[in-house]
């Protein structure tokens, strides 16, 4: 026990003297908390639209004005020719162009058929789809309101309103999901990056050989490494949690104890992964490459940035070996949905199994190296 305590003490000295590790511990979380929550939002909010009014009548002007009242659209002015239209679309000045044919009003008044042409810049397919539906809707509603002015007819128009109710995140705030996501990224970074770099450094400067010739056993060495980084990881997580609650105003709906417990286990998985990577890589650079590569795959598959639903089958299978996605599940369930230990049991069991497996693998590969 005394040996382990000495090792832990040594480790803390080492960490606080290493500029790179300190910068990962302090700068990385700051950058993430400052940038992610404000940028990661891909809901379509602004649709820009330009008008090509070949009619220049009262009716067409009224319609254009009507678009100005809608909150979805940004009016990007007028165009006058086919060339200008091409140009506006080519250079992404507008998303939609609405074109009124000549004699538009005349035709409508006379009861003849007339056609409004919409041209969409469809590279962003989702925007093109939803935008053209909005436009059709604005047009329908416009003609409905026009009709009300005329003598009453039996024919009325109706509109179906959608009342969106937001469960689990009432304010529908992107930060509410991004901030817990950042917590996951933080714990992962500390766990795997920092440990991997630290041990490989010992290898690079040869201190690991010195430890190997002392009576310190392998497991004592590993535990001595694990405890300090585990403490650092938990500290970082708690600081992140406090920031989340007091700065971003996101309260933890579920049980905080089970959240901390699950994080403790997840950290063990990541620490084990860090050990394993450090034992199989030759220098810090290589370790960093491997961790980065795994990290990118984990993040992509965990659904923090993009939905996982649209991924192919094989990606979903890989996800079963992705501890981050299980941990992300836990975080979401506890923080946003108010789950307790009962709801997250299966994830916790899987993470525990992963923790045991990866740490045994690390211990074995370490013994391999020593012999």
């Amino acid at each position: 026990m005394r040996i382990i305590l000495m090792l832990v003490k040594k480790e803390f000295y080492q960490v606080f003297r290493n500029r790179l590790l300190i910068s990962i511990l302090i700068v990385a979380p700051l950058v993430q908390f400052l940038i992610f929550p404000f940028t990661a939002d891909y809901e379509i909010k602004h649709i820009s639209i330009a008008f090509w009014d070949q009619d220049r009548s009262t009716l067409s002007r009224e319609i254009i004005e009507h678009f100005g009242h809608s909150t979805h659209f940004i009016d990007c002015g007028f165009i006058d020719s086919e060339a200008e239209k091409e140009e506006a679309l080519l250079h992404d000045h507008v998303d939609f162009i609405l074109q009124f044919p000549p004699r538009f009003e005349e035709q409508m008044v006379r009861g003849e058929e007339s056609q409004i042409a919409i041209t969409a810049n469809a590279i962003n397919s989702v925007k093109a789809g939803i935008g053209s539906d909005y436009i059709k809707n604005v047009l329908t509603l416009f003609f409905e309101s026009k009709q009300e002015g005329t003598p009453p007819t039996s024919k009325k128009m109706t509109s179906v309103l959608i009342n969106h109710i937001h469960w689990y995140n009432e304010k529908m705030n992107y930060q509410n999901i991004m901030v817990p996501g950042i917590l996951v990224i933080l714990v992962t970074l500390i766990g795997s990056y920092v440990t991997a770099l630290n041990i490989v450094r010992e290898k690079e400067i040869g201190t690991i050989e010195q430890i190997n010739v002392t009576p310190i056993s392998k497991w004592q060495f590993l535990v001595g490494k694990m405890i300090p980084f585990w403490i650092l990881g938990m500290l970082e997580f708690i600081v992140g949690l406090l920031l989340m609650v007091f700065f971003f105003g996101i309260s933890i709906q579920g049980s905080t104890t089970s959240l901390l417990g699950a994080t403790a286990i997840y950290l063990l998985v990541m620490l084990g992964l860090g050990f394993f990577i450090s034992f199989v890589s030759k220098n810090q650079l290589q370790a960093m490459f491997i961790v980065f590569f795994l990290f990118v795959i984990y993040v992509l598959l965990s659904g923090i940035f993009t939905p996982t639903e649209g991924m192919p089958k094989w990606a979903k299978w890989i996800n079963f070996a992705n501890p981050m996605s299980f941990y992300m599940d836990i975080i979401k369930l506890v923080i946003l949905k108010g789950a307790g230990l009962r709801e997250i049991t299966s994830q916790v069991i899987i993470l525990s199994a992963m923790a045991i497996g990866i740490n045994i693998a690390a211990l074995l590969s370490y013994s391999d190296k020593v012999n």
């Binding site: 409004i116 042409a117 041209t119 093109a128 999901i177 993009t306």
Partner: protein, 346 residues
């Protein structure tokens, strides 16, 4: 090393997507009449959804969320048909699972699309609005509404940045780490030649990987190349120079290879993912971030790539983007070379 771009593009290309096929939903039909049936049919027919349950109370909806993992629940109010015919407005309730906001915002858009279509449909058939007004819609550049058109250019950019900037920053940092840079600087070789000699081999490698990435995007992800292939390649070479000059800058300000890698990841890769506009629309961001996005070359390159590959633009259409890229890379190269100069002086 050349296998890395291939692995990356296949991984990114298949996993970065905002489409959600067959989203599970529940429908709580409180009116069970002709029109509500019609609405349900149009929801099913839209191919966006898979209706997994028809609950009969709010409590059952809550159970569907926790047990069946539905993404949304739609509540059709009582007397839907009557209200639809006689009242001006009918309100549908849609309950969204906002704990996964990425999924929820896509699902919301799907639902809105279907409902809007339904509404236009009703007005047409029920109210005899055979419509003097016809609306024609042309989906320009992407008539099949393919979602890869949006993502693949961004992915190409990411991979080029990783390969070019990372490789050049690390090798240059290595030279200064092992002090071979100092040795070269005291020889009569000019600084600019040292830098070029260092960068050009990696440019050649990057160019090779760019070609592979382009080939995969065309063959596997079915991206078109509507514009001139020659112009596209020139654009790629310009962007490689810009990325390499970022690599140069990073190596000039970092002392070790590790520092270089950290700075590339945090200072270049991350902003490229977040601020290039390919994943998250720039106009949703605070103004400061929108301004910041202009400094990073990715935004300009993605715009130019889309113009050439999808819109079939010519060089005249994209000259501005190319000029911006060249400007950024010239500025960075000059700065880095003076930085190296200062190091020689010290």
């Amino acid at each position: 090393m050349l296998s890395m771009p291939v692995v990356l593009i296949i991984l990114f290309g298949f996993t970065i997507s905002t489409e959600i096929p067959n989203a599970k939903i529940s429908i709580y039909d409180q009116s069970e009449d002709v029109q509500s049936q019609r609405l349900i049919q149009s929801l099913i027919a839209s191919d966006y959804f898979q209706v997994v349950n028809y609950p009969n109370s709010e409590k059952e909806i809550a159970e569907d969320f926790s047990q069946l993992q539905i993404k949304a629940a739609i509540i059709i109010p009582p007397q839907f048909e009557k209200k639809l015919i006689s009242e001006k407005e009918v309100e549908l309730q849609v309950i969204n699972d906002m704990s996964d906001i990425n999924v929820a915002s896509v699902i919301k858009q799907y639902i809105e699309t279907v409902i809007l279509n339904f509404e236009n449909d009703i007005n047409l058939t029920e109210f005899g609005k055979t419509g003097l007004l016809k609306v024609s819609i042309q989906m320009k550049y992407n008539p099949e509404l393919n979602s890869v058109y949006m993502f693949v250019p961004g992915i190409i950019t990411l991979i080029m940045i990783i390969i070019t900037a990372l490789m050049s920053s690390i090798t240059l940092a290595r030279e200064s780490e092992t002090n071979t840079m100092k040795m070269m600087l005291i020889t009569p070789v000019k600084k600019i030649h040292i830098v070029l000699g260092k960068v050009i081999p990696y440019m050649a490698l990057s160019f090779l990987s760019t070609l592979m990435v382009l080939a995969i995007s065309v063959w596997i992800f079915e991206m078109p190349i509507k514009g001139n292939l020659f112009v596209l390649l020139i654009l790629c070479i310009v962007f490689m120079f810009t990325s390499a000059s970022f690599g140069l800058l990073i190596s000039a300000i970092s002392k070790t290879q590790l520092d270089a890698m950290m700075i590339t990841m945090m200072g270049l890769f991350l902003p490229t993912v977040l601020l290039s506009g390919f994943l998250f629309p720039l106009d949703n961001m605070p103004y400061g971030f929108q301004l910041l996005a202009n400094i990073f070359p990715a935004k300009w390159f993605i715009l130019a790539l889309k113009d050439i590959m999808i819109k079939g633009a010519t060089f005249i259409d994209i000259w501005f983007y190319v000029a911006v890229l060249l400007f950024i890379s010239t500025l960075l190269t000059i700065f880095s070379v003076t930085q190296i100069d200062r190091r020689r002086a010290s």
